[in-house]
Amino acid sequence: MISRGYTESPVKPPTVLGFLVAILVMIGTVLAFNQWIGRYLDRNGTNLGYRYVAHKWHVLGELDEGVDWLVLGDSSGSQAFDPEVLKAQTGHSAVNLGTIGNFGLTDDLWMLEEYLERFGPPERVVLIHVYDVWRRRLDPKLLGRIPRDRVLSDETIEKYDIDEDQFDEMWLVRYVRMYAERTSIRKALELTWHRMTKSDEEMDELRKTDRSLPEKEPELTDSGFVRMCGALPDALKRDSSGHMRFLRKSRARISKDNREALQAIAALALEHGFELHVVNGPVYDRLAAKSEFQKYFDGIVEGLHKLTKGNARVHIVEEVYPVSSKYLQNVDHITCDGTDAYTRWVIEHVEDAQ
């Protein structure tokens, strides 16, 4: 019998230099792994929100000249307003920097400030947010994903009242992605495995039972527009029920973070002389037809008017764009087949506001 693996042989004591080399390589390996994971997540992470944030700030950073229309907002607008359609219809240039709803208007303000500093005012700024974003408070953790130094500055901490735990979370999200995005890493690996071993039909079946898998893979374009194709009726149905429950029990309100950010953006419109248009993202037509929705939406519009009263640069679109289920992935996320019409609707309403 080969009897092996019962003992530990004496280890030669390391030299101080050798030990230091091992420790330095160890630290370097951890840092390099973290960096590599970050790149992997930017391409394959299943937390699409984080990918959008990274992409949009990258697009902003890569801009080498100003545009006519600067489109900001959440993911509903990010995948609904196509700058190419604007260009084709009006000849105006645009960039779509909409990110995700949980930022509220905070990153809109930050992006606008950076844009103004680099290029001066655009002709118009279009803020596209879906109706329920206005009530949300900023999730400070998300700020960690913004690739700018101001994130961890004292000014930011003071302004957004970030406590120690939130700061730690922000710091982890920013610098230790291998920890902060563990779920996304696992899901991405799982997804890679499925893609290697399953047909498209099997993948569709799997998504019905595992909702944590991203439904579709987005195409992130250079203009910032996120192209997502393929309606998702099941997801729409689930999301629609959730929105109805929300509307039945909630009153329209605008959070403190969003009030302050909107007023700051409106003040910049006055100061720099650009037109600011506040537009609602596309909404599922059956939801939009509900009285609960209309009541809530009217409440938001009223609140927005109050906040921007007396500012002639601010234009609030008081209608929503209703979309049929065949163009939706959920209540407020439109498919690539519907973006053309939505973009034209926005152009029309923005130009009418003049």
């Binding site: 530990e8 030990f19 291998m178 779920t183």
Partner: protein, 470 residues
């Protein structure tokens, strides 16, 4: 306070700093370690401290009385006192309800319905470990294998040394007490070996065991709802979990001790490479199997009698070893199972006729591939929380295999792969510290990858070590 927690990291940083600062004053340094050990243990429940203090004082006094006894009878009286007292404490806290329930069931079977009380006794963490360690001291003093401890402080530290207090290895007084009683040296070699053992243990715990638990637990918690394929996958996942969990703890315990200049027993020696049941017990929880051999099997007569006595002693030792793990019938059955396979292998070795050749790799691989499934079957018994669970497992184990277990199987495979690779390396090199023979940069790379894996792939929830409950 789990080793894989931030609280423990802070605790160890403070303890180690004080330990290093008191390097030249042994008594003070031991006092630092004793206080730290009591803080560590009291972190679960400070009330448990009275129990460990009681065991300590009891065995310390018994040890002194045995050492200073004028006659063999007096020695015997004190060692008997120590053993009875220790087993009584263990019996009260660990086995009272089990015996009451079993008695109730027995009476019911005899048609004598009796409402047996169920007492609300909290099982102190690690009681089986420190009781065995403490008790072995008095037995060894009695046998003349070790001297009585030089002071209560040193003995208290021997019983409660925090790295191995709650889940072993179960140390022996003639090996560990001298380390407590003489100055230790903090060396670069000890620190680096400690780092390797800590990282490897941490990886096995937080990456392998906790993630394997996430596969095994939902299935074992609802055995009736799963197919045969899922049940067998859960059995494999539990095999990975229990190995990663327990050997990971042992490695971390040894690593912490090494950093401070102590040397704890090697508790795991590639157990899934075992070629037979007896080889398995030379590799799995070695400190317990050696304890059972020295303080139970040999006193029972070991293999000194005829075949029948040897088999009886083997089975009895394994049954009591099973009961040591927990007060439940599945542990008894687990003990019987291991006793039975030990006997069967012995019978097979003794029978005339052709046998697998020795010294051949292929023959050893064949032996391993026969032993591993038996080990897994044992773990199914171990993991089942009752006899009813065990029945439910086997009722479903051979049903449909159509359910898609692909992603769970792939996850388990990926979790086990690094452990398997390192273990094949350790086995081939016949050295459990083989990774420490790499050049320094490669060692650094290995440590870095282990840290990165622990950060990235640690299971979402921190699961307490399985063996804490024993």
């Amino acid at each position: 306070m789990l080793f894989n927690s931030w609280v423990f990291l802070a605790f160890f940083a403070i303890t180690f700093s004080l330990y290093a600062l008191t390097q030249r004053k042994l008594a003070l340094q031991n006092l630092v370690l004793l206080v730290a050990s009591y803080v560590f243990y009291g972190w679960w429940d400070w009330k448990f401290l009275t129990l460990i203090a009681l065991s300590t004082v009891l065995d310390y006094v018994a040890g002194l009385k045995i050492a200073n006894a004028g006659s063999a009878a007096e020695k015997k009286k004190w060692v008997t006192f120590s053993v009875v007292a220790n087993l009584s404490i263990l019996g009260v806290f660990k086995y009272t309800n089990f015996f009451l329930e079993s008695l109730g069931e027995l009476l019911a079977m005899l048609g004598l319905e009796a409402a047996m009380p169920s007492l609300r006794i909290v099982l102190p963490v690690g009681i089986s470990f420190y009781t065995f360690q403490s008790m072995s001291y008095t037995i060894d003093v009695y046998r003349g294998k070790t001297n009585a401890a030089s002071s209560l402080l040193n003995f208290a530290l021997y019983v409660s040394f925090f790295p191995q207090l709650v889940a072993g290895p179960i140390e022996r007084s003639n090996r560990f007490l001298p380390q407590v009683e003489s100055p230790r040296k903090i060396t670069l070699g000890g620190i680096e070996t400690g780092i390797w053992l800590m990282l490897w243990g941490l990886f096995k715990k937080v990456v392998v065991a906790d993630n394997a638990a996430a596969i095994a637990n939902p299935i074992f918690d609802d055995l009736g709802a799963h197919s045969g394929a899922e049940l067998w996958l859960a059995a494999l996942a539990f095999s990975a979990q229990i190995y990663g969990d327990f050997s990971g703890y042992s490695d971390m315990a040894r690593g912490l001790a090494k950093i401070m200049g102590f040397d704890l027993l090697l508790n795991f020696k590639l157990p899934y490479f075992a070629t037979s049941p007896s080889d398995f017990w030379l590799r799995w929880h070695v400190s317990l199997s050696a304890w059972l051999r020295d303080y139970l099997y040999i006193p029972l007569g070991g293999n000194r009698g005829g075949s029948y006595q040897t088999y009886r002693n083997l089975v009895l030792t394994m049954v009591l070893g099973g009961l040591w793990h927990g007060a439940a019938w599945n542990f008894v059955i687990w003990g019987v199972f291991h006793g039975a396979i030990l006997v069967i292998y012995r019978l097979a070795e003794q029978r005339p006729g052709p046998k697998l050749p020795t010294g051949k790799l292929w023959a050893d691989l064949l032996r391993m591939s026969m032993m591993f499934p038996l080990t897994v079957v044992g773990w199914i018994i171990f993991r089942a929380q009752s006899v009813a669970d065990l029945k439910a497992f086997y009722a479903g184990a051979f049903t449909s295999t159509e359910v898609d277990v692909e992603i769970m199987a792939a996850t388990l495979g990926l979790l086990w792969l690094p452990v398997f690779v390192v273990q094949v390396w350790q086995w081939a090199a016949d050295d459990l510290l083989a990774p420490m023979r790499l050049p320094f940069p490669l060692r650094g790379l290995l440590y870095g990858l282990l840290i990165a894996a622990c950060i990235t792939f640690a299971s979402g929830e921190s699961i307490e070590f399985i063996y804490f409950q024993f």
